[in-house]
Symmetry: C3
Subunit: 388 residues, 3 copies
C-alpha cells in the first residue's frame, strides 16, 4: 500500500481533505489551563484590539481649513500718543492668515524715522573715541546700520560710531509693563473650522447644526456651559492654558488652540464633534527660558511734504494663536479587521504550544501523553511507538 499515499489521479488528489489528527487529553488541570489562556487571548483580541482600539477600522487623517475673526476695542492713554483707540485693523497683523492670527498686545514705537545718519546705540563695539575707531562701511549683522567712519556724540559724555540707518534709532528698551493693550484680554475670536476626511468623503464644520445665528451673536466658549460655542475670549484661552494673560502680553508668546476631531464614522455623524484644548507653545520648560516671548518689527511708511520717505517703526509684542487641527477618523473596513483576526488566531496557536509544553513537562502522566502524541521515525528505519 506504498502507493496508497499517492493520488491515483490528480483530480482525485485535488479533492482530498487534509485534517490533523488530534490527541484529546481529558484532564481537568490541562483543560482548565487551556481554556483560561484561550479566554485571555480572545478577550484581548475582541475586547482590547477590536472594541477599545477599534482594530476593525480603517483610519484617515484630517484635512482642515481655518478662518478666524477677532473682535474688540482697546483703549490706551500714553504721553506719546495721547488717548487712542485700537481696533481690529490696527492690532491684527497681517490682517488675514491661514490657520493662525496675531494679536498685538504691547509695543515700542519709534516714530518719524528717515534714512539719515546718527550716533549708534552704545555697545562695546560701537563706543569710540576718534574717527579711526569706526571702520567705514562696517555692517554688523546684529547692528543697526552701516558705519560711516565718523565718531560722534551720542550724549554729552558718550561718543559712538555714526551709522547710516533709519534714524532716530529704536531705543533698546524693555517693553512697557503693564502692556499697552491690556484691554486685549477682553477680545473675542470666532474660529471657523471646516474639516474633511477624504478617504470617507466626510465633511463637517465646528459650527454644529444646532447652533443658530442668535446664539452665535452672544455666546462665549465655556468648557462647562457652552462647550460647542466657537467664540473664545482671549483671557479664557490663556486661563485654560494655565497662563496669566497680562503677564504673557508683556513679552508676547505663542498659544496653541488645539482642535481634536476624533470621529468614529460607524456611529451617527452628530457624535463627531470638535474638542478644544489650549496650550502655550513657546517656552514650556521653566529651566530653559532662553529667548522668551514673541515679537517682530514692522513699519508704516509715509511721505513727508518734500516726498521723502518717513516711517514709524513698531516693535510689536503679542500673542500668536496657532490653530492646530488634528484627529483621526475610523470606519469599519475588512482589511484591518481580518489582519487583526488573523494575528489573533496566530496568537491562539501560541496557546497550544504553551499548554503542550506544560502537559509534556510537568504533568505526572507526561510519559503516557508523549507516547500518544509522538510517533518517531528516524532516517535508518521506523521507530513508531506502535512497534514498542
Amino acid at each position: 500500500m506504498s502507493e496508497g499515499g499517492c493520488c491515483v489521479s490528480l483530480g482525485q488528489c485535488f479533492f482530498d481533505y487534509y485534517t490533523t489528527k488530534i490527541l484529546v487529553i481529558r484532564s481537568r488541570k490541562v483543560g482548565t489551563l487551556n481554556r483560561i489562556t484561550q479566554a485571555l487571548v480572545i478577550a484581548y483580541v475582541i475586547g482590547y484590539v477590536c472594541v477599545w482600539k477599534k482594530g476593525y477600522q480603517d483610519t484617515d487623517t484630517i484635512l482642515s481649513s481655518v478662518t478666524t475673526k477677532v473682535k474688540g476695542i482697546a483703549f490706551t492713554n500714553t504721553t506719546e500718543l495721547g488717548e487712542r483707540v485700537w481696533d481690529v485693523a490696527d492690532y491684527i497683523i497681517p490682517p488675514q492668515e491661514d490657520g493662525s492670527f496675531f494679536v498685538l498686545t504691547n509695543m515700542i514705537i519709534t516714530p518719524n524715522q528717515t534714512q539719515s545718519k546718527c550716533a549708534d546705540i552704545p555697545t562695546s563695539a560701537s563706543l569710540c573715541s576718534s574717527h579711526k575707531d569706526c571702520k567705514r562701511g562696517f555692517n554688523d549683522a546684529r547692528g543697526n546700520g552701516v558705519w560711516t567712519g565718523r565718531c560722534v556724540h551720542f550724549s554729552d559724555t558718550v561718543k559712538t560710531c555714526e551709522v547710516l540707518a533709519w534714524c532716530p534709532l529704536e531705543k533698546t528698551d524693555e517693553p512697557p509693563d503693564p502692556p499697552l493693550l491690556a484691554d486685549a484680554e477682553n477680545f473675542t475670536v470666532l474660529i471657523k473650522n471646516s474639516i474633511r476626511y477624504p478617504k470617507f468623503n466626510f465633511n463637517k464644520r465646528n459650527i454644529l447644526p444646532h447652533i443658530n445665528t442668535s446664539y452665535l451673536t452672544q455666546c462665549v466658549f465655556n468648557r462647562e456651559t457652552d462647550p460647542d460655542c466657537p467664540i473664545f475670549s482671549l483671557k479664557d484661552i490663556a486661563k485654560e492654558a494655565q497662563e496669566d494673560f497680562q503677564t504673557m502680553a508683556v513679552h508676547g508668546g505663542v498659544m496653541g488652540v488645539q482642535i481634536r476631531w476624533d470621529c468614529d464614522l460607524d456611529m451617527p455623524k452628530s457624535w463627531c464633534v470638535p474638542r478644544y484644548t489650549f496650550r502655550r507653545l513657546d517656552n514650556k520648560d521653566p529651566d530653559n527660558n532662553v529667548a522668551p516671548g514673541y515679537n517682530f518689527r514692522f513699519a508704516k511708511y509715509y511721505k513727508d511734504i518734500d516726498g521723502k520717505e518717513v516711517r514709524t517703526l513698531i516693535k510689536g509684542y503679542g500673542i500668536r494663536f496657532d490653530v492646530m487641527v488634528f484627529g483621526e477618523a475610523g470606519k469599519f473596513h475588512i482589511v484591518p479587521t481580518l489582519l487583526n483576526i488573523g494575528a489573533g488566531l496566530a496568537l491562539l496557536g501560541l496557546v497550544t504550544v504553551i499548554c503542550d509544553w506544560i502537559v509534556l513537562t510537568f504533568m505526572k502522566r507526561k510519559h503516557h501523553y508523549r507516547e500518544q502524541k509522538y510517533t518517531y521515525v528516524n532516517d535508518f528505519g521506523l521507530l513508531s511507538n506502535e512497534d514498542a
Copy 2:
C-alpha cells in the same frame, strides 16, 4: 520504550523534525468545500489586500510647498472712487502667503478716519436721551469705540452715545451686490507645487516635464483638454465646485484647491501626477448657514499735512483659496508584505477549523471520521480508539 520519546542526547533532539499527523479524507463534498473556502481566502489575500489595497507596500505621507501667482486687472466705476483699475498689488492681501491666497472681490470703504469723537452707530445699547445714559469709559467688545460719557445727535432725530474711535465710523451696511470687483472671475492663478515623500527620497513638481514655457504662457486648466496645466481661472474653480462666482464674491468665502498625489512608486515616476479638485470649504450645509462668507478689516495709514494719522478702513470681502496638498505614496516593502501574508496564512488555518466542524457534525460518516481523527487519553488511564 517510555524513554523513546525523550532525546538520547540534546544534540540529536535538536535535529528532530516535528510534523503533524494528517488524516486524509477522500470525499468530494468535503474536498470541494475545502478548496472553495481556501480559494476565497487566497483570492481575498492576493486580489484584494495585495493587488487592490497594495498591502505589500510601505506608505509615506507628503511634504509639500506651494507658491501662487495671480494675474488679472479689474475695473470699477463708482461714484466714490470714480474710474479705477485694480491690479495684483491692490487685491491680493497679504501680498504673499504660504499655500493660500486671498482675492479681494468686494469691499466697504470708509475713507479719512481719524482718532476723534463721534456719535455711535444706533443700536439698542447706544441709543440715549441724556448724558447719564452713557457710562464714561464703557468699552463693549462688539462696539466701535470707548464711550466718552456724552449723548450727542447721530442724526436730526436720533441721539446716541459719543465714542472715541476712528471717526467717521464704518456704516454697518450690506456689501455691494453685484460685487465691486466682478471682473475677478477672469483672474487666473498659477499654482506651483513641489512635493516630497521623505521616506522614499522622491521629489516632484506639478509643472510636469512635458510642459514647456510657451505652453505655460497661454494654457488654462481644463479637466478635459488641459488637465496638466497648473494655471486656473478663478471662475472655473468656482464652477467646478458647483458654486457661482458672482454670488460667492458678494460675501466672500473659502475655496479649497485640493491637489492629490497618490503615487505608486513601484511604477514609473511619470505615472505619479497631481489630480486637482475644488470644493467650497465654508458653509456647506444649506440648513446651517450661520456666519456665512469671509471678510476682514484692514487699513491704509496716511499722514495729513499736520502730521496727524489718517487711515482708510476697508472691510474686504473676498475668496480665500486654500491649496490643500495630500496623498500617499506606496512602495514595495518586506514588512507589510509578510505581515499581510502572515495574517492571510492564519486565515487559511481558519478554513480547516470550519471544514472540520462541518465534516464532524453534518457528514453521514462523521463517526468514522471522528474515530480516525481523535485519540482519547484521560487523566486516569489511556482510552485511545485503538484500544476500543
Copy 3:
C-alpha cells in the same frame, strides 16, 4: 465506542484538551533544514521587524509650531534711491507668518504711480496705428490696464493703445544682476520650533536644555561644530542645499528648511533631537526650468498734498524659506507588538509546510514518512495505513 468521541456531558467536554498528534522524523538533513528556516524567520521577526523597524511600537505624527526671527542690515547704493539701509521691517514681507518667512533680495521699483492714463507697454497686442485698433474697455487678463480706445505715442516711433492703469507702468525688465540686496547672504535667522506628539503627551523645543542665553547670542548653526544651534546663516542654508546664494537671489526661489524629529520615546527624552536639512523646493530638474524663481508685487500707498492716492509698486524677488517639520515618534505598545508576533508565528507555520513538501517529495525514504504521516479514509470506507 462510537460514542467515545462524543462528550459524556458538556462540562466534561469543555475541559478536553486538544493537541495535534505529531510525527517526529529523526533525520539530520530535514532537521537542519527545518532549524535553519526557523532561524531565518525568527531572525527576521526579532531582528528586522522588532529591532530595526521597531514593530513593537505604536507611532504618532507630529504637531508643530514655528516662529522665526531674521536679523541683519543690507546697504544699497543706486542712482534711483541713493544710499539706503534696509532693515528687517523693510525686507521681511509680510512681517510675520506661520512657519515660513520671505526675505526680499532683489526688486524692480516703480515709484509715484497714480490712477491715470498712459501708453501701454509695446506687445504684439498693444501696438496700434490708429484709434480704431484699440477696442475701448478691452481688459486682457495678462495686460496692464483697461484700454481707453485711443492710440498714443509710447515713444517717438512706437504707438500703443492707451490704458487706464497705475501709471507710469512697470517696465518689464529683468531684475538687477547682481541682486540689489546682495548683503542678504549675511542675514541670520533664529528658528524656534515647538513640537508635540499628542498621543504620547510629549512636548519638546528645538532650543535644547543645554543651550543658554549667552551661547544663543553668538552661535551660528554648523553641521560639524554647532549642530544644535537654532540660528542659521542664510548663506549657509543655500550652501547646504548646494545652491549659490547670489545666483538664487537674482530671481528668487523657495528654500525648504526641513526639521526632522524622529523620536524613540522608549529611550531617554534627551535622545530626541531635531535634525536640520536644507533643500531647494522650486525648480529642481535642470531640464524643466519653466517659470523659475519666486517674486510677487506689492505696493506702498501714500497720499499726495491734494489727497490723491499715489503708490510705489515693488516687484519683489526673494527667497521664501518654508520650515517643514516632520517626523514620527514611536513608543512600545502591546497591539502592534502582538500583531507582529502573530504574523511572525503564522510565518513559522509556513516553515513546516515547506519542510513537509521537501521531506515528502525529495527524501529517499519519503514513502515511509508518508505512510506514517497520513491516514487515509474515503467516503466509502476507511483506508488507514494501519490496515495495509
